[in-house]
Symmetry: C2
Subunit: 386 residues, 2 copies
């Protein structure tokens, strides 16, 4: 096990009706807040009313940044920063999924930064303070409600990049599984793929000594496999929604990566897909993951796939290599079973930008992964996925 520094300060109010804790706790941070959200879905669902009622009751004055994109753009961040400055706001409240929260984090940093917010995306060390961030979660996926990370896109530059540090961790988050009842099937599936991918990125590591963390990863994977189909069939199944929601937070808050030298592989590849084609992140991950697994499976990495096959899928028969291959097959079949595609063509991606995307992915992190992948490796994986 590698040395690590554990620091997960975000407090979570989890469960039905926890919105009641929003106003009074936000008020302790500031009585002037920026409310950040996406499209109109929180208005349609009634959540907007619940949130603003909390703000009003607590005597919090707020401004709004709405229309944050599914892959949040730097333009939205800049707009948010401007509103914070203009109105002297002291906290940023995101209501939504990962996009709204990610945007809120960089707005929070940008409001305390003397320069263009894009600097903070390109260099996370430039975030040296931030307004306190609070979130009300409506989607089980990115885990942004309990970690420091934010992914922001500049579509003009075809750049989608992660940033964030200790200053951008939410102070607290409200996680009410009922707010995810209205998440459509497709988004539920894509969110699950995102949770599983975060877990895979932590799980597939050359570190053999972080035994407990590997078992936690398996627990999250089993939970996704158990409950995603339930949530899709019965969108108002509280137990399924609750378990998916909590899994999303646990997959990426550090618990599964502490003690390992994790270096993510599939995410840097997918980031290029959605930077070039603006596809849904989780869909891209579901497509790429099984091909990535096939590509990196070899005699050296075999042990980890056997562990995966046995402990997650309960495959005990056959040679080690057979168990590993079966586990990869099961992974693809699972994604298919929840309606996720297996090829890039299905989401409208062809050969056009393959070379360029492979180049950027290699620059973006794949060379440090479980099995380091250079540009040619990435290109081969993308070609397999076509």
């Amino acid at each position: 096990m590698q040395n690590f520094y554990y620091n997960i300060p975000t407090q979570i109010y989890f469960g039905k009706g926890q919105i009641e804790n929003l106003g009074k706790n936000l008020k302790k941070l500031s009585d002037r807040a920026l409310l950040v959200y996406g499209g109109g879905s929180i208005k349609k669902s009634g959540l907007y009313d619940k949130v603003t009622e909390q703000l009003e009751k607590a005597g919090i004055v707020w401004q709004e940044l709405s229309g944050v994109e599914p892959n949040p753009r730097i333009e939205s961040v800049r707009k948010g920063v401007e509103i914070c400055r203009e109105h002297g706001l002291g906290a940023v409240l995101a209501v939504g999924g990962g996009s709204a929260i990610d945007c809120a984090k960089v707005v929070a940093g940008g409001a305390c930064y003397d320069g263009d917010s894009w600097d903070l995306v390109m260099d996370r060390t430039k975030i040296t303070k931030a307004l306190p961030v609070v979130s009300v979660l409506t989607l089980a996926a990115t885990g942004s409600e309990m970690d420091e990370y934010a992914v922001i896109s500049d579509l003009g530059k075809n750049i989608k990049k992660g940033t964030g540090n200790e200053f951008t961790k939410p102070v607290f988050s409200i996680m009410d599984p009922e707010y995810t009842f209205s998440v459509p099937e497709k988004q539920t599936a894509a969110g699950t793929a995102d949770i599983m991918s975060h877990t895979f990125e932590n799980y597939f590591t050359e570190e053999k000594g972080a035994y407990l963390q590997a078992r936690f990863c398996e627990g999250i994977l089993k939970t996704c496999i158990q409950y995603a189909p339930v949530a899709m069939k019965e969108p108002e199944n509280y137990e399924a929604r609750a378990n998916l929601m909590w899994s999303a937070s646990m997959a990426i808050n550090g618990l599964c990566s502490y003690g390992e030298n994790t270096a993510w592989s599939v995410h840097p590849m997918e980031h290029e897909l959605s930077a070039f084609y603006d596809i849904t992140h989780g869909v891209g991950l579901a497509i790429l993951t099984p091909y990535w697994m096939e590509y990196v499976l070899n005699e050296t990495t075999l042990w980890k796939f056997v562990e995966y096959g046995k402990n997650v899928w309960g495959i005990f028969d056959g040679t080690d290599m057979e168990i590993a291959r079966e586990a990869i097959l099961k992974t693809r079949e699972f994604f298919n079973s929840i309606g996720l595609p297996s090829t890039l063509r299905e989401v409208g991606i062809d050969k056009t930008h393959l070379d360029e995307m492979a180049q950027k992915a290699a620059e973006g992190g794949t060379q440090k992964g479980f099995m380091p992948l250079d540009k040619e490796d990435v290109k081969k994986i993308l070609e397999m996925a076509l």
Copy 2:
């Protein structure tokens, strides 16, 4: 899944050489500290020198409370409180296992309380503030390094009772697995039983919907089963010591109990054993656990034992009841295999106080457990264990 409020603020510096983070971070809390430890083992191991070097380098003035008992007594707490007051100390630094840390927590509360510290043991809500607590851990067992709990005894009254609340959570803890290399075989085994018992207390719950938490519990149990024998055979096996150490913290910091209405059963029983006979806590737990399992196994609780048998022990053959019984047998065999006894007689406990202990255990919490146990139930379990 039940509603919960997640709040684990303790920061952890985990791994080799992390002691380097002690002085500078403690200094941020106070430059006057009480150093709390047990017998002379930290002097023999050289840890005392490392700690005091850190204090000196950071310019921290300290007083000492040494000789804290394995089951820390209220007299030690009172002594610590007195020293804090007399010298105007602003933080409490525990170096040791759960006993030193538990004692430090109540000292920290007592120093801010206008009255006798025993009040804080009898009523945790009386702790309304506390000096900041910091720990350097030397034993993987109680998890006190990352939670709020403290168990204090008044042997004169035959009372051993848990207390603690948000104010007694350590601000940070140093967890260097190398400090546990010198833990003798017996203590390693007893510590493992303690970790597993914390996990069992969270795992055996009537709540079926906290699926993820149950998988986390299984991960901790598997880790203990995997590494306790290794650590006993090779006391300087870093990987084994690291995994046991991290498991101890995770078993009881809340991660495994959030979302469940856990109510502990075996701990209240064991607390009476060690209150009356001053036996090692983990040894008492190892003796009682399998008998408790046998006693509470019935048609209603069967599902949980089947889950346990399959997911922890890999038992898939037989009827559900056979799987459950086999799992209980495996549990006892495992404890025996690491040198822990199976009967109360082996630790010098006979019928003398059975009735009284059963009465106190029932008052102490067993009536709220996975399967509520009244005095007669507890007595039967204790008789089974004789």
